[in-house]
């Protein structure tokens, strides 16, 4: 059990400062997981256990929470998160074709990460900028009124950035 103490470093780094910002109670489980994911990009098994111990909620219940809410990830995402909007306005204006095109270009399915670890593709229900449909977000940047051609250019630009970096 010692290796699960709050102070042992693990693959996602130390999170004790995150924990100590919240009271040790069940109501802290969701905000804690959100903060950890914000910092690490996902929730590791070790961090799940730490949250459980800290909040005094059984590990099974913490796992139940993580798997219930779509926001949480249990595996490490790629460098750039591509979120494709599947809201109603996007759907009737061709989001399905945009999604198919992305899957084909990136050679992955929804929820997966490209082999080079560069992009993760996720569908989201509504990004709330319906007048710009169809819409995707890469990281914090939004791209609207998309065509397949635009997508190719956007992906190329991101790949180019990678080469420079």
């Amino acid at each position: 059990m010692a290796n699960l103490s709050l102070h042992s470093p693990n693959e996602t780094g130390a999170i004790e400062d995150v924990l100590l910002n919240f009271p040790a109670s069940p109501a802290s489980v969701i905000p804690l997981l959100q903060k950890i994911q914000e910092r690490c990009g996902y929730i590791s098994e070790t961090d799940l256990t730490r949250v459980s111990r800290y909040s005094r909620v059984p590990l099974s219940s913490v796992y139940a929470v993580v798997t219930f809410y779509s926001q949480f990830r249990l595996d490490r995402p790629g460098k750039h998160m591509i979120r494709i909007c599947q809201g109603t306005a996007c759907h009737v204006l061709g989001a399905g074709e945009i999604l198919d095109h992305l899957k084909e270009r990136l050679e992955i399915e929804e929820g997966q990460t490209t082999a080079d670890g560069w992009f993760t593709l996720e569908s989201v229900r509504c990004l709330g900028c319906c007048s710009l449909a169809p819409v995707i977000m890469i990281g914090k940047e939004t791209f609207g009124r998309l065509t397949r051609k635009d997508l190719d250019e956007i992906l190329a630009a991101y790949r180019e950035k990678g080469k420079v970096a």
Binding site: P26, S28, F68, T88, C126, C129, S131, T147
Partner: protein, 592 residues
């Protein structure tokens, strides 16, 4: 010439997505370069999303001149010709198009006009006057009576009378009571609450504080979608500023009343819009609804009396207190008072955020405010209420938008998503889309919701794939009625609505899919094929490299042809053809 007193840039999520940040920076740089002192202001959603990025130049006499779809290259002209020269740049101006004419702005009173991050500006626009009045001149009972008299009903979808809800909770014993603002706006195609939070956050806090005073709540939460980072950031700032100014916390405005607010970010579960699921989520658990009664007004958050109101409902409250219940009740119909905010989107010319008096016919919204259907196609239906709502056919376009009239059609007012559908939208596909959504979002507690929606989705998928059987349609309706009857919460009770309304109003379209194996709207891939019209084809060959399976080849003359045995119906040739020479045709002759 009238000097300019202020420049406003709409910087809500949709404006930013359209590039308004870049316009803001360019304006800032240009104003600095010209050493002008005209203030540049960030504002929330102006509403005309179809014209983003939007820049307003306000003259010292208050006249507002709007530039639409502003690009970076336009900025220099706006500054040098208009701000410095006093001559508006005619070719960039927004032409009046009827968008604002029939709107009544109560909830959106300040949206797009004030800086959402400035408490001072909110106060200059009568902000916190209502709270001050309530704390100095009104008893909690009087506040509840005023809200009851206004006829305000919950704007989150169910339409429960707000005053009544407050009254119920006020009678419960204290001291601990909670007030929750539901900002878990989960309907796809709805962005009303996001716009209010981003454009006028103090208004929601003021409404919450007034409500808390009325029912004796000591602590409040705003439960907001994590997908709305800008709304969360603006709320956080607003709460911090309000605390500093003595508008939240201990002894608000030096009265005996104390109340504070915290933000809880949702984690992506549609069902958490339901009251008891939302409570479970705040408590740190899976968001599964529970049986009611007891209602949250009796036993809610941590077993204490709790009132949950949605953002738009609360945004009405300060206005009602300031102007009186009668002023509010003059808008709307007999049983649906006031206004409703809608997110108008889909195949409409003017998509955006609108606020109309209750009772306005759908036709006036679509063709008056919305400017009609894109490319002047025919209106087919309007989808209202998202996954819980239904599709209202064009033949019922004169139905007034109020709680009772819409309920009769099988749809609901809902939270305010209004998606306009045209002749190229397949109603079976739309029903499938919404059912796919609710099926995935079902928490799994009730059997009919968990398994019933799954079986319904499978049936719809079969129909769209051209494998539907004649019994499918009746079976869908029967199962839909049962899912509604045997589900515990609003999600399951309303999930079949999109299917039931489309089956009622567009039965012929279902039958075409099932009996004739055609998709009249040309959407369902399994039932369509692409054909190149030899007359319209100019033989430019743009489509040839576009085709991923090399299905397009030279025809017997100066035109191309599609080999249907190879075609995967990706639609690329269709979208790339500059001459509109590619037709979507029915595949029925090939399927048996």
């Amino acid at each position: 010439m009238t000097p300019s007193s202020e420049i406003r840039v709409g910087l809500a999520t949709c404006g930013i997505a359209a590039g308004a940040e870049r316009i803001y920076s360019a304006l800032k740089a240009s104003l600095e370069e010209h050493a002008t002192s005209v203030p540049l202001k960030r504002v929330g959603c102006i509403g005309m999303c179809y014209n983003e990025p939007l820049v307003d130049v306000v003259a010292s006499d208050g006249e507002r001149i709007t530039y639409r779809q502003v690009q970076e290259k336009d900025v220099e002209r706006i500054v040098s010709e208009h701000i410095l020269g006093g001559e508006p740049v005619e070719d960039l101006l927004l032409q009046p198009d009827g968008f604002f004419e029939h709107q009544v702005r109560i909830v959106l009173e300040n949206c797009g006009l004030i800086d959402p991050e400035s408490l001072d500006e909110y106060r200059q626009h009568a902000g916190y006057q209502a709270l001050n009045r309530v704390l100095t001149d009104m008893s909690p009972g009087q506040v509840i009576e005023e809200i009851k008299a206004s006829g305000l009903r919950g704007r989150g979808g169910a339409g429960f009378p707000t005053g009544l809800k407050w009254g119920l909770a006020s009678k419960e014993p204290g001291p601990a009571k909670y007030f929750v603002c539901n900002a878990d706006e989960g309907d796809p195609g709805a962005f009303m609450d996001r716009s209010v939070l981003e454009g006028d956050p103090h208004r929601v806090l003021e409404g919450m504080t007034i409500a808390a005073y009325a029912l004796g709540a000591t602590h409040g939460y705003v439960y907001v979608r994590a997908e709305y980072p800008l709304a969360i950031a603006r709320l956080e700032k607003a709460i911090a500023d309000a605390r500093k100014a003595g508008l939240l916390g201990k002894n608000i405005l030096e009265s005996d009343f104390s109340f504070d607010i915290n933000i809880k970010a949702g984690a992506g579960a549609f069902v958490c819009g339901e009251e008891t699921a939302l409570i479970a989520s705040i408590e740190g658990r899976r968001g599964t609804p529970r049986r009611r009664p007891p209602y949250p007004t009796t036993s809610g958050l941590w077993g204490k009396p709790t009132v949950i109101n949605n953002v738009e409902t609360l945004a009405n409250v300060p206005w009602i207190i300031r102007h009186g219940a009668n002023a509010f009740a003059q808008y709307g119909t007999e049983r649906s008072k006031g206004t409703k905010v809608f997110a108008l989107a889909g195949k409409i010319k003017h998509s955006g955020l609108i606020e109309i008096p209750m009772g306005m016919p759908i036709r006036d919204i679509v063709f008056g405010i919305g400017g009609g259907i894109r490319a002047d196609k025919a209106l087919k239906a309007v989808q209202m209420g998202g996954p819980s709502g239904g599709c209202i056919p064009a033949s019922l376009a004169d139905v007034p938008v109020d709680y009772e009239s819409l309920k009769e059609t099988g749809a609901i007012v809902g939270s305010g998503g209004m998606i306009v559908l045209d002749e190229n939208t397949c109603m079976v596909d739309v029903a499938k889309y919404f059912l796919d959504f609710t099926q995935k979002e079902s928490c799994g507690k009730c059997t009919f919701c968990r398994i019933g929606t799954k079986r319904m989705l499978e049936t719809l998928t079969r129909i769209c794939d051209g494998e539907g059987t004649p019994e499918d349609l009746d079976r869908l309706v029967e199962l839909g009625e049962k899912v509604k009857a045997y589900s515990l919460c609003g999600l399951g009770q309303t999930a079949p609505n999109p299917v039931l309304t489309t089956a009622k109003y567009f039965r012929d379209e279902y039958e075409a899919h099932i009996a004739e194996k055609t998709c009249p709207a040309g959407v369902c891939k399994a039932l369509i094929a692409y054909a190149i019209d030899p007359q319209r084809c100019k033989d430019c060959k743009l489509c040839v490299p576009e085709c991923p399976v090399e299905a397009i080849s030279q025809g017997d003359g100066a035109f191309q042809v599609v080999d249907r045995s190879v075609c995967i119906k990706c639609g690329r040739c269709y979208s790339v053809c500059p001459f509109g020479a590619i037709d979507v045709v029915s595949r029925k002759e090939e399927v048996r």
